[in-house]
Symmetry: D2
Subunit: 134 residues, 4 copies
């Protein structure tokens, strides 16, 4: 059962054709990952400040299938797939029953200071479990 949030496309996101600028869509995706981490009780800032590691992005791939415009309510679903030392966030965005964009962020679990990838802590793995593809 994926994590879902609704993104309302704003006037300030829209371009001369009335559709959302692509960098503003990326902002909405990034906000979704932030909301998800809060939801599971491990916000990005808590990992960083208190636990000394983070989940930096090593790859993104997104396909844009249909434009969205100011006023559209877009349901963005995030499904985590937890690997050994990495986590993939899969995204599907639906507006009016149509997929508007989908893709993923590949993240690694990495200590600050360049110590390289570490195993995803069990606590984080467990917190994501109920949102993972069943």
């Amino acid at each position: 059962m994926s994590f879902e949030r609704t993104w309302t496309v704003r006037f300030s996101d829209s371009d001369p054709f009335g559709i959302a600028h692509y960098p503003r869509i990326i902002d909405a995706v990034h906000e979704t990952s932030d909301m998800f981490m809060v939801e599971i009780g491990h916000p990005f800032w808590e990992l960083s400040q208190d636990r000394g590691f983070g989940l930096p992005i090593v790859e993104v791939d997104f396909e844009f299938k249909a434009p969205v415009e100011a006023g559209n309510e877009v349901t963005i679903a995030l499904t985590p797939e937890v690997g050994d030392k990495s986590i993939r966030f899969d995204y599907t965005a639906i507006c009016d029953g149509t997929v508007t964009f989908e893709g993923y962020e590949q993240r690694v679990c990495a200590e600050h200071g360049g110590g390289g990838a570490i195993e995803v802590p069990d606590e984080l793995r467990d917190a994501m479990a109920s949102y993972a593809e069943g």
Copy 2:
């Protein structure tokens, strides 16, 4: 009774000291004005597309009194003050009982295509009335 929304400061809003970058605060203010216009039934895009006018900003003034950091929940209150051909949005942002920033956007009611300022339509004035300072 002002319009209020809660802005959660995100990791991606924060700077090397962990506090929100000032342009990201402006994004949050702008989003608040957009949410308010939706709330009163006159979203910016509806004014623009269907009614041929807008509320462009002619002046902003903001005072930043205390920093906010990722994870903070900031209550941003918007109070409209409707003039003859102009509208001022007053903002007060509170976090943990402290004013973090406050200020205003001065907007004019203007036709597209450079026709100059027009009187604020009664329908829009009425829609804002219940949120105005009593």
Copy 3:
């Protein structure tokens, strides 16, 4: 011979670890595509306003190989690959001799108003030719 520009990472792009937020990197990539179109004499706004078509993005894929921080000078190279009805912009970003990120934007040549993909006009194809992979 690719198109190149230098992106200076700004303080306002940087996160609590001093490295650039990923959405701000996307902004820099997008700015690069805009600069390229100006360079070849066909800015995005001219295509849109005067010629009735655009180059909307249908897919992006980026790999982030090394972080960049405020003050870094990043050379972003753009190499266009022109297809029949589509154009791919390949990006490689170098900082201090190291690839910091690389990837592509897949774009289609499309008329405004939903008329679907059209052939890339010869004039645009020719303008991009000297920047394409030889």
Copy 4:
């Protein structure tokens, strides 16, 4: 003799009427302050990391006098006015001979960690002197 830079308004800055979104103008202002600090040899990140203080913004005031659109070249001039424990950056933006916006950022010189305002170091004051109003 003010510090000047040219800001090219990008397609991705523009709204459904083809004019720049106001938060994107703020981004351009902020970038200008960053470029100025690099120019005088005291980039924001150097102050922060090596010297333990910063120039946080305590007030902004901007008047928007004429819209700008994608493709416009806007000359943004920054004039510093150095006080005892504070610095004001005055901005004037000109496009095609017309003032498009003008205003200021009021900044304080403050130690990190909440130690309060400190005197502007002589070295910083001297570096700004030649750009100040004569």
